[in-house]
Amino acid sequence: MLNTFMVYVENKPGVLTRVASLFRRRAFNIDSLTVGRTEKPEVSRMTITVDADRDQARRIEANLYKLVNVLLVENITNQPAIVRDLAMIRVAATHDARSHVLELAAVFRARVVDVSSESLTIEITGAEDKIDGLLDVLRPYGVLEMVRTGIVAMRRGSKSGDAASATESTGPDSANSSAANDDVSYSV
């Protein structure tokens, strides 16, 4: 099954290589990996999805903690979380098809960000299945080009992990206990 990890790392050169190299060395296949800044300049945050069973997922977590630059790891696979992927899709849309494509984009709450005589470029943000759904209905018109960012994820609720708690954390145990979070909010 696909596991989603939130990984806080020190914002230092080479840390992405260390994390990526770990997955390669231990023969786990990364499905998606995104990395970006957080509210603290010295901390970066990765969202990694990887195909692994329960035991493998535990070992991935333990191996990530072995990297000296890794601050906090949370497996949020079975937790309420907001998961978002962003895609830009250039779809063939001559004037006959254009209105159909625009309607489909509207249904999916996607935005048109570029128009040419032969095509429309649509930007969509959402969970992966939503984007897959839009792609399915656009395919008959001709998808000329597509790019996706890979997912970013955040746990729901007020006690969600943040970069500050990542730097203060004392170990995997405390990470687990903060993950057992009953103060969860559900938004739409």
Binding site: V9, E10, P13, G14, T17, R18, S21, R25, D55, R58, R59, A62, N63, Y65, K66, L67, V68, N69, V70, L71, L72, T167, T170, G171, P172, D173
Partner: protein
Amino acid sequence: MTDQKTVDQKTTPAIDKNKTIMTGAGILWECLEREGVKDVFGYPGGAILPAYDALKHSKIHHILVRHEQGATHMADGYARASGEVGVAVATSGPGATNMVTGIATAMLDSSPIVCITGQVGSKLIGSDAFQETDITGVTLPITKHNYLVTHASEVARTVREAFYVARSGRPGPVLIDITKDAQQSTCQFDWEAAKPQLPGYRPDLSPAPEEYAQALELIHNSKRPVILAGHGIIISGAMREVRDFAERTGIPVALTLLGLGAFPASHPLNLGMMGMHGEAWVNHMIQEADLLLAFGMRFDDRVTGNLKNYAPNAKKIHIEIDPAEINKNVKVDVPLVGDLREVLLELLPHVESIDRSEWLDTIDKLKGDSAVRDIQNLPDSGHLYAAHVINDLWRQTRDGNTIVVTDVGQHQMWEAQYYKHEHPRSLITSGGLGTMGFALPAAIGAKVACPEAEVWVIVGDGGFQMTMCELATIVQENLKINIAIINNGFLGMVRQWQEFFYDRNYAATPLLNPDFARLADAYGIKSATVSERSQVVPTVESARRHNGPVLINFKVEQEDTVYPMVAAGAALNDMIRRPSPIVETADDE
């Protein structure tokens, strides 16, 4: 002369040590000294020259090696003999890449070493400059952590962090790559302000109370338990606690190769070595056990055999400092993640003494005809066997403060079987990586760390030739090291596999060797050649009395085989045994 001095003063100002302006090179040596380093093993070159230039202001003794791989094995041997961090130094490019094998060796055997490499100037990085290699990239998967330092101001903190990471938790190698300009540039040296900052590093985990309770329940309910004693006991310094635990619970102890010495060989509860070339009864005990207590070991494939039918009836308790080892190879029932000594101290007051005489009595039954099959008990055929040499050597040196350093292959397994280790750190050997060429340089490191110890190298004729250039280092440092070459004219262990599994096709395993005695003579090392058993003891004694290095070329039976053997992929109790002489005689008639 005076001119030379003035120039030196200019390039590397003499050091006044607190909060003064210093070069990165000066800070490097100063920090090494403050970390307790007395000896380093190294080889100079362009990108590390500023550091070598600054060495003259340091009290640290530099040992010039003949190959950078040797420097890393020496640092490793130093670390394993003493428990302190070993240090190796090399230049950029080829100097650094030559260290790779030694670093990987230290990584797989959890040995704390710090490798310092020079790097081209920071402005040149990425330009494919002369002798530029991305050594932090190359060593990423074989170091516990590594650093690239590009300014003098980063040197002090990096060295402090490197030593802390190398020696804490599960120890391992750390590499520091320092650009030439970082060595040359200056900054204010402030030891106090350069404290390690490792917010993500957690070497000090400990189990939860309920996990202790679960472990105790399993221990008290078990009828046929075995302790699997590994290298972690020695690293943790838990020899006393393991002994207390075994004695209080009456549980017998099987050892891994790197665990030898962690529990006295002569102790009644000591079973011996387990695994591929372990004693037959030990492997049988493990397969029949209802509880395995893994103490600081990692269920390597060389000790488990086929995982599908490994200890099928046993519950498993795994005491291990590295959480990533839990459930990696063998699924365990109770993991206790933490420092072994601390975990055992926590458990000891709660363990109950249980009568396990019934289980212990089965050992004798399981030993069966092992003694009859033992090569020590076979009638003298006139051949010299490696097992004879090693067993005789053990008899002669057993009472002393002896460190045996072995290479990899048949002689290594015979050493493990026939040299009975009573004390921790009395055997130094490359286990996980199985690095041929390890013994000679590692012995140099061990001797430098423990000058009072009697150091014996036991090495095959193949592995010896991989790093024999370090004979010059032995002579140069005037180290009293005794070298026993177990010379069978073959890459013996590979030949053994060819014998069993490749239809005796001895492809590329016979060796054309030099006359090792004359080779030793060329270095000014006292030498002897032995091909009869009666000569083993007198030659060993004469070597021990000689006040300098000695090399003995033991010409042993060429096609001897290490028994028992668990073939790769076979179950642990499915062993190829040395033919019993009684059965053989019957066949002959």
